[in-house]
């Protein structure tokens, strides 16, 4: 059952068509990986879906409800959460307080919000750092924090924008396991990634963007063997068995 549907989404900036009639759907409890060269429109797509950009045409439907044209806070309330390419956190707050901001979407009271935040921190492995200032986190910890912040809003769909960027291989593995855990708990996830191995190992479906258009969709296996994708992005050295 398709939880998220994107239909003919188009976004232009002046003369540049950043997203060109993009259509796809994501089933519940699956992971969609979105890959493609820089400038192909991946983050723009996220921004359109999550309400940060207005679209020129097209529709986005979440669990049967139209979310196109809504403001970001409205999109969040309808069940879609995202992280940003540059992991931004509220540096003047503690780790716990950061997550509480998201928790308030579910319950406005301090007590329950704190509990939900603690629970989510435990899930991402940051519980021991709960009362530390978020300023002092290392980059992978910061990633996990922004993941926690989005997660605590109990979304139906979670969108992660280049969550693996700049991480060491061991850190990537940790994060992949975490994402798998989250998926097991019923989450639907979209991931934009450049770390190909990571996204290939975790995605159920991969969608490839180039110059604003979808040029291929399929299982990781199919995509790795797709000539056009290899030429546009993966490089000839990449032929997955």
């Amino acid at each position: 059952m398709a939880l998220l549907e994107v239909i003919e989404l188009t976004k232009t900036f002046g003369g540049l068509v950043a997203n060109n009639r993009i259509s796809f759907s994501v089933d519940q409890e699956t992971i969609l990986g979105i890959i493609g060269p820089n400038g192909s429109g991946k983050t723009t797509l996220f921004n359109c879906i999550s309400g940060f950009y207005s679209t020129n045409s097209g529709q986005v439907i979440l669990a049967g409800r139209k979310i196109t044209g809504r403001a970001p806070h409205g999109v969040c309330r309808l069940g879609l959460a995202r992280t940003f390419q540059i992991a931004e956190v509220f540096t003047r707050m503690t780790v716990l307080e950061n997550v509480m901001v998201g928790a308030f979407k579910r319950d406005k009271r301090l007590g329950p919000a704190r509990d939900m935040a603690m629970e989510t921190l435990r899930l991402v492995g940051l519980l021991i750092k709960a009362n530390e200032p978020s300023k002092g986190l290392s980059p992978p910890e910061r990633r996990r924090l922004s993941l926690a912040m989005a997660l605590v809003t109990a979304p139906q769909v979670l969108m992660l924008d280049e969550a693996m960027a700049g991480l060491l291989p061991a850190e990537i593995d940790e994060l992949l396991n975490l994402i798998r855990d989250i998926k097991k708990q019923g989450m639907t996830i979209l991931v934009i990634e450049h770390v190909i191995d990571a996204v290939m190992s975790i995605a159920d479906t991969i969608m490839v963007l180039e110059a604003g258009k979808v040029i291929a969709t399929g299982t990781p296996h199919e995509i790795a063997a797709n000539d056009r994708v290899i030429e546009a992005y993966l490089g000839k050295g990449y032929r997955h068995a």
């Binding site: 999550s50 940060f52 403001a71 970001p72 806070h73 409205g74 999109v75 969040c76 309330r77 959460a81 995202r82 940003f84 931004e88 956190v89 509220f90 540096t91 003047r92 707050m93 307080e97 509480m100 901001v101 998201g102 308030f104 979407k105 406005k108 009271r109 301090l110 919000a113 922004s146 912040m149 989005a150 809003t153």
Partner: protein, 337 residues
């Protein structure tokens, strides 16, 4: 129970007791006036800080809320005989309305742009009020002196003690309300929206809504102090209740003391209000502005030494005192220091 006897609470309790007894020991009219000014400016500074310190909207237009509050309650009192106790709330309410009207069109503005827009708005409002004959225009309004029902009319003429306790009550309410709001989800959203508005929005925080809430809070607590002021001074005209001087003083007090904290504006008022009153009496009487000159100098010096406000300056010594108290207490209870 432990929290109730912590050194911080005990200190606050001590201060409260002192303040309650103050007007009975220092009976001079001037001494009471100074404290009334301190309470007044502390309330105004706190109200400003809700939008200035937490929502990042530097408003130089607070005087507009103050003036609207003053005029509303006064007009209701003069024309309908409505007691200022209710008029105060009406004044606050009108200020909120004004704030909402201003908040919508300026919702895109940040930082310096908002500051200048608020300045422009204030100038416009003062000019409009000056030309509005219904409320007395430039001549202002003199509230008739009434002696027989001091509490109902909020006019006290034997001593200022009545005024003292009223404004102290207003301040306490403002402090408690602001504290409660800022530690609640509203405070979290405001701080989040200030720091990283995109992230906050993606987590469900509605920028416009919370901005308006912050403005409404600030407007109300400024407006009702305006009503109080009208009853205290028994005269109002646009320059005195809607002038730019007032707005600037409020901003300075909040920032001088330390914006973004609960005690900062209070501290700022505690230091600057007596200074302003004293220097006005000693130096300002000459009409040459020496008192303001000193104020200006003081501000510049402070900004250079401790830009985060006096509260940061005294944070160290205060912590030291607290720690000493804790240690002493620990020893008294038989623990190891």
């Amino acid at each position: 129970m432990k929290r109730l006897t912590s050194p911080k609470i005990m200190l606050m309790g001590l201060v409260l007791v002192i303040l309650l007894l103050y007007p009975f020991f220092l009976k001079s009219s001037f001494a009471q006036h100074v404290m009334i000014m301190v309470f007044m400016y502390a309330s105004l500074g706190l109200a400003w800080d809700v939008i200035g310190g937490h929502a990042n909207l530097f408003s130089f237009g607070q005087a507009a809320f103050f003036g609207v509050g003053a005029y509303t309650s006064t007009m209701l009192y003069m024309k309908l005989g409505l007691t200022p106790w209710v008029g105060m709330f009406a004044g606050g309410g009108m200020a909120v309305l004004l704030g909402l009207m201003i908040g919508f069109p300026t919702s895109n503005l940040r930082g310096h742009y908002f500051a200048i827009a608020s300045l422009a708005l204030l100038v416009v409002m003062e000019a409009l009020f000056t030309n509005w004959t219904f409320i007395g225009g430039a001549k202002g309004i003199s509230i008739p002196v009434v002696n027989d029902r001091p509490w109902l009319d909020m006019q006290f003429h034997q001593t200022k003690t009545g005024y003292y306790f009223i404004i102290m009550g207003l301040l306490l309410i403002t402090m408690i309300t602001t504290w409660l709001i800022l530690r609640s989800w509203i405070g979290f959203y405001l701080r989040a929206l200030r720091e990283a508005p995109d992230v906050a929005a993606s987590l469900g925080a509605n920028n416009l809504l919370y901005r308006l809430i912050a403005i409404a809070i600030s407007a109300f607590f400024t407006g009702w102090v305006g009503s109080f002021h009208a009853q205290y001074v028994l005269y109002l005209d646009p320059p005195s209740v809607m002038g730019i001087d007032l707005s600037v003083r409020i901003v300075l007090i909040a920032i001088f003391g330390g914006s973004g904290t609960l005690w900062g504006p209070v501290l700022g008022a505690a230091i600057l209000a007596p200074l302003m009153e004293l220097s006005r009496v000693w130096l300002g009487g000459l009409g040459y502005g020496l008192d303001h000159m000193l104020l200006g100098l003081l501000i510049v010096i402070l900004c250079l030494i401790e830009p985060n406000g006096v509260i940061k300056l005294i944070a160290q010594p205060v912590n030291w005192v607290m720690n000493i108290a804790k240690v002493k207490k620990g020893v008294l209870e038989g623990g190891t220091p």
